[in-house]
């Protein structure tokens, strides 16, 4: 986590006590033309381009109330500044949860997670925040509060601003309140893991998983030093290039059955030794998997999105560029997070723009930079090149934030 003061040119920070006060602050800023930098727990502030215009910090941490939690409707309405940990605790009391993992849950806020569309390993079995936000309130760049969606799980009235604002990096509005669809928390959870001698073997297993009789909660392909010595997984066998950890959740009987079934499916593919992780070790691995993307020291952390079948090729490329990189791939979804160990300013155009971005584009996706200590990265380096769609994003931005005061200069818009 980067200190707030380091990453943003803040003149002052406001912490409004309620949504009306927050709207008033933005309205004042609009009149003055002052940039507004929304702040949650400050855990993802190095995501996006560096801000250049001085402005005010607008912390949502004063907005952390649970507004309504009708547990039997499996929905919850909360203010956006609630931390992920507090939300999780509230839901746990009813044996429910929001199966979205973010690093540093005790300070990361729900609003921040939504604004950055953060996701973790459970996205394979449970989807991402876009599947859970069913109602949203926000304050636009003119200081006008607005909302969309509602509190019911099925609702098609009006435009779906829940989707528009999820992942908008606070550039269309400051999110103040959210209604979520939630799920029952499964009673059983375990991992089956194996060590792989090469990446083609990994692709063979991943392709087979698509037709597995089991229904995994997470499919994680892991490589690099971080995972070689992971305590929960145990030491990797000699000659291991990557490790595959498949999370299995459900009723205890289901988990037991899936562990046996998957082990036998793997055996038929020539994987003779697999490890079962349950209880404490499973908990530890879930936690390690959740925390991985946050790295205080790495020179560069990227996230690639690809069609899943290209995952291992991309991992191979990343390891060629930096053999010491640590990699976590949500392989079932084609999401690859690479934490480089050695990456210099000169590598940005050579490797990031020159090799990684084209490889991801060829696989139907793109690369974004999650964080970097390199500084001065361009829009092209952080978000990849503009597409025809980018212009339409800018059109929406201009409507919601006509003076461009919300997180200015940090997202991928062009020509504002």
């Amino acid at each position: 986590m980067t200190a707030v003061a380091d990453s943003l040119p803040l003149t002052e920070t406001h912490t409004p006590p309620d949504q009306a006060a927050l709207a008033a602050t933005v309205a004042d800023a609009y009149l003055a033309g002052t940039p507004v930098y929304p702040l949650g727990g400050g855990t993802s502030l190095d995501y996006g381009q560096a801000a250049s215009r001085p402005g005010i910090g607008l912390a949502t941490t004063g907005l952390d109330r649970v507004i309504d939690y009708p547990a039997r409707d499996m929905t919850i309405t909360v203010e956006a500044g609630i931390t992920m940990q507090k939300l999780s605790d509230v839901l746990a009391a009813e044996r429910q949860w929001l199966p979205i993992e973010v690093p540093a849950a005790s300070s990361a806020t729900l609003g921040g997670a939504v604004a950055t569309a953060f996701s973790g390993p459970r996205r394979y079995g449970s989807g991402t925040l876009r599947d859970y936000v069913i109602g949203i309130s926000a304050v636009d760049g003119g200081g006008m509060p607005f909302k969309a969606g509602g509190r019911v799980v099925k609702n098609v009235a009006g435009y779906d601003f829940c989707k528009l604002l999820t992942g908008s990096l606070g550039t269309l509005g400051v999110i103040t309140q959210l209604t979520l669809k939630i799920k029952p928390r499964p009673a059983g959870s375990a991992f089956l893991a194996c060590d792989l001698p090469d990446l083609p073997t990994a692709e063979r297993l991943l392709a087979a998983l698509v037709n597995s009789c089991t229904s995994p909660a997470a499919v994680e392909l892991l490589a690099g030093p971080t995972w070689r010595d992971n305590a929960a997984l145990g030491n990797a066998t000699a000659g291991t290039v990557a490790r595959l950890a498949v999370g299995l959740e459900g009723m205890p009987g289901e988990v037991q059955w899936m562990l046996g079934q998957l082990a036998s499916e793997w055996r038929s593919l020539g994987i003779t030794s697999s490890r079962l992780l349950d209880d404490e070790r499973a908990r530890q691995l879930w936690s390690d998997l959740s925390e991985f993307p946050a790295s205080p020291t790495a020179p560069l952390v990227i996230k690639a999105n690809l069609v899943p079948s290209r995952t291992t090729q991309f991992v191979e490329l990343a390891l060629r560029i930096d053999p010491q990189a640590s990699i976590q791939a949500h392989a079932g979804n084609g999401i690859v997070i690479v934490r480089f160990a050695g990456f210099e300013a000169g590598d940005v155009s050579r490797s990031l723009i020159g090799r990684l971005q084209p490889a991801a584009q060829a696989a139907g996706g793109n690369v974004v930079v999650l964080s970097s200590s390199l500084g001065g990265l361009t829009r092209q380096a952080i978000w990849g090149g503009a597409t025809a769609a980018t212009e339409w994003m800018a059109k929406a931005k201009r409507q919601f934030d006509p003076k461009n005061i919300l997180n200015p200069g940090r997202f991928l818009y062009d020509n504002l």
Partner: protein
């Protein structure tokens, strides 16, 4: 009649896409004056059938240069007037763009043109172990393009979600005629989730020309149960108990006594006619867990005073049960010469309350109301029975419908769970949203559709669409 400006549009369209893909004779346009919503009608001036994305772009550009309104249409099964050519103009009918372009099982997606009928995709996937999850009851006819426009649901959305949860990307022709791809085969495209905004935008932001959809693995097993209750209250309590126990059924549908009588007459399933409510409950997933879930559900139903819980013995019986449910509306024709239905949503725990209200409203207006609905989602479809030749009755039905929807809003719900706003429910938008909310939506439309030539008069109660003064309830069959 056709103005000279339109005549030149017709010429240009014919030159652009071929004479055989343009209809301009009044006799051939009449069938396009409405969709599944028949209260309001308006003939388009021209109907055009594009065969490619490029055709759509050409059509849109022609409309723009002539300043003529235009809008897309799929199969025309909208129940809210989503395909009504409010301002006349050019109706872009996408039924000739009906190719399944790609099926990729390794990467779990398919690419389809907008005119592909929902069930064609699932048929094409037979034997692969995969299916396309959104299954609106009209899936045998409605197109995936239309599903995207309205963010369609269906009985299995309780567990699997609605169309937007299965849409990875969209290629669209924007209101200015440019072709843009949002998202694609990979998840998490960079930037704003405009795919998510286009889904459910009811054709007011762009014309969808290609869709990347997520494919879903077929569940290993399924258990379908029928809970029979002596009171609707007990049945709704059972719903609450099942969900409260942490079970998310694949589907959870409720039918009350009124509709049971009609269904039994049509399908002879053997429903007890004196039951006050039945729940159709389906759980799916791993065989390893299903029997335990089934036993728990049976136990909870019995705890809520269920008279009996039956289990579908085989696939044929399960299909028949679903046929009873999916075609329930058709069977209503046996109860009454006319009927209309609503699409309200309430929080699940408010179901007992809304059912009591519906009953009271029925008594107040002397209108017979029967119920069949997606109970798990709190998505109610009360069916109001009447005789359209009796004008006083028609008035009462309209008033009762309005009151039911008002009560849904008062419960914290919505006036549409899956049919869309279209033109039918525009007048309710002001009750669901305040001026700020609507202004934000209006700006979204301005961003994408600044001249409002694309689908004017739809969804938002602004820009000349003040909402319909309903004089006549619709008779609708498909839910």
């Amino acid at each position: 009649m056709i103005s000279s400006a339109l005549l030149s549009v017709v010429d240009e369209l014919q030159a652009a896409v071929g004479r055989e893909n343009v209809l301009a004779a009044h006799a051939e346009l009449v069938v396009y004056e409405c969709d599944g919503f028949v209260i309001e009608k308006n003939c388009p001036d021209v109907v055009v059938f594009p065969r490619s994305t490029e055709d759509v772009a050409k059509i849109v550009r022609i409309c723009n240069s002539a300043d003529v309104p235009f809008l897309p249409r799929g199969a025309g099964t909208s129940l809210a007037g989503g395909c009504l050519p409010v301002g006349g103009g050019v109706l872009i009918v996408l039924t000739r763009m009906k190719q399944i372009l790609e099926i990729n099982l390794r990467d779990r997606y398919a690419v389809v043109q907008p005119g592909v009928v929902n069930v064609w995709l699932t048929n094409a996937l037979k034997g692969t172990g995969y299916h396309y999850a959104p299954d609106p009851s009209s899936q045998g006819a409605c197109t995936i393009g239309g599903n995207v426009a309205t963010n369609s649901g269906g009985p299995h959305t309780l567990k699997y979600g609605v169309t937007v949860n299965h849409t990875l990307g969209i290629e669209a022709v924007m209101a200015d005629g440019t072709i843009v791809q949002f998202g694609g085969p990979a998840e998490d495209p960079t930037g704003l989730d405009l795919t998510g905004v286009l889904v459910g935008s009811e054709g007011t932001l762009a014309v969808v020309t290609k869709v990347w959809v997520r494919l879903t693995r077929n569940p290993e097993g399924v258990r379908t149960m029928l809970g029979i209750f002596d009171s609707a209250e007990d049945a709704t309590n059972a719903i609450s108990e099942i969900i409260g126990a942490g079970i998310v059924p694949a589907a959870l549908e409720m039918m009350d006594q009124g509709i049971l009588v009609a269904i039994e007459a049509a399908f002879h399933f053997g429903f007890p006619l004196d039951a006050q409510a039945i729940l159709l409950i389906e759980v799916d997933g791993l065989e390893a867990g299903l029997d335990a879930e089934r036993d728990k559900i049976i136990e909870l139903c019995l705890k809520c005073q269920a008279r009996e819980v039956r289990q579908a013995r085989d696939a044929a019986e399960r299909l028949l049960l679903w046929k009873c449910r999916k075609q329930a509306f058709g069977a209503v024709g046996r109860l009454s010469p006319s009927y209309c239905t609503q699409d309200g949503v309430v929080p699940r725990t408010k179901l007992p309350h809304i059912l009591r209200c519906i009953q009271a409203i029925g008594q107040k207006y002397d209108v017979r109301i029967v119920n069949v609905f997606h109970a798990g989602d709190g998505n109610i479809h009360p069916i109001l029975l009447f005789d359209e030749r009796d004008h006083a009755q028609v008035e009462r039905v309209l008033a009762a419908s309005g009151e039911i929807l008002e009560e849904c809003i008062a419960c914290g719900g919505s006036v549409t769970g899956e049919h869309g706003i279209g033109v039918e429910k525009i007048s309710f938008m002001r009750k669901l949203f305040n001026d700020n909310d609507l202004a934000a939506m209006e700006r979204m439309r301005l961003a994408f559709n600044p001249h409002n030539r694309l689908s004017p008069g739809k969804m938002l109660p602004t820009a000349g669409a003040c909402g319909l003064e309903q004089k006549h309830p619709g008779r609708r069959a498909a839910l």
